[in-house]
Symmetry: C2
Subunit: 228 residues, 2 copies
């Protein structure tokens, strides 16, 4: 007898069962985003299909999407790896992030409400807790969540998607940063940002985000310098 496809099998929740290729994509995506993959690591279709218990076609699709996102790199021959960041790449990422994310902050400040500031503060509090507990995965996820929540508020989906995609490029290097510095020395400009938002200060928000981006990228740059 055939098993019914395990759709929405989680405890009665009516969660729309996502297509396999989408699940694989999300899975890989978050692994890359939160530093669970090492730069330079090879990615094989059949290996992933085996590991995830999926067929080759959905895995292949997920990989193609990630390549298009810049999260994976298709080498001339037909090998796929997690790309290694170099200084030149990082410098470009810094420029683009500053341009887009500062504008997103500006626009978010234009649409803030008290409920939004509260929600963001909540995430930031959880983030601080994760830092003080040395919870690296928690820190990474919450930091990402903080920024994405901000960008969603900007009412500019194309710009937000663009910014989102950039995070995939430095994700794999974050593990290295945290391995090097730990969580204690991870300063951010979230407090500045929150007060600017609460005051509806567009430029203040833009400056806070720019500084936050600069700080984060400088830490990655520091690690890159060491390795070369």
């Amino acid at each position: 007898m055939k098993l019914v496809k395990n759709t929405a099998d989680q405890a009665g929740a009516h969660i729309r069962s996502l297509p396999v290729h989408e699940q694989v994509y999300q899975d890989l995506r978050s692994r890359i985003l939160f530093g669970e993959t090492a730069p330079g690591q090879a990615v094989t279709i059949q290996g992933l299909a085996e590991a995830l218990g999926a067929g080759m076609t959905p895995v292949r699709e997920a990989i193609r999407r990630l390549i298009s996102d810049g999260a994976l790199l298709f080498q001339g021959n037909r090998r796929v790896i997690v790309p290694t960041l170099d200084i030149a790449a990082l410098e470009q990422l810094v420029f683009i992030r500053k341009s887009i994310e500062s504008e997103l902050a500006r626009r978010a400040a234009r649409h803030v409400g008290q409920d939004f500031v509260d929600r963001l503060s909540e995430i930031d509090a959880a983030l601080d807790a994760a830092i003080s507990q040395g919870d690296v995965p928690g820190y990474l996820r919450l930091n990402y969540q903080f920024h994405m929540a901000l960008y969603a508020q900007a009412q500019a989906p194309i710009m937000a998607e663009q910014a989102d995609r950039l995070w995939l490029r430095f994700g794999p290097s974050l593990r290295v940063v945290c391995g090097r510095f730990g969580t204690q020395n991870l300063p951010d400009r979230h407090k500045d940002l929150l007060s600017a938002l609460a005051a509806g200060d567009e430029e203040g928000a833009a400056i806070a985000v720019t500084q936050d981006v600069t700080q984060g990228m400088e830490q990655i740059a520091a690690v890159l310098e060491i390795k070369e």
Copy 2:
């Protein structure tokens, strides 16, 4: 019947036999880029596989990449269409293009040589010829080629790729613009750009590109206003 399999191209060997999924991707990409697809048009896997004489898997992969590029839109159900631009989307594209492409121009100006200015002038001359002959496809291709050549010169592959991707989003609207205005009223700032580049004037190049972008996008905006 259909000859898809180029098993071993004996005689030639010049032609690099690209994978089918890559061919399909390039094909679809240029159709979208040069306005050969109408906004809102549906894209079906089986339809394309039939039309191109390819299997479903490569077509599927190409479509996923294009979706990730923002060139196609995956609607919640499993329909894929060519997205329709609205004013809000266009406004975001303008901002991002201005930020990134002006910086690319700045960096290109930093690396110019006489040979590069000559090559760009050549493309621009061909472009003018296409305009005066009313050759719309030629105009679109040469204009794209002009900008991509400039961005390649900037030695900033990530930023260039980012800019490249954005073109896919307004490509489908270009046909409408040309249908509306013809080729005669397609002014550009390429001459300004060329003199700035020849003089090594970074800011001049940045300004020229910014104005070029503004002009092009305003024409699209004008068409969008009419349709709404």
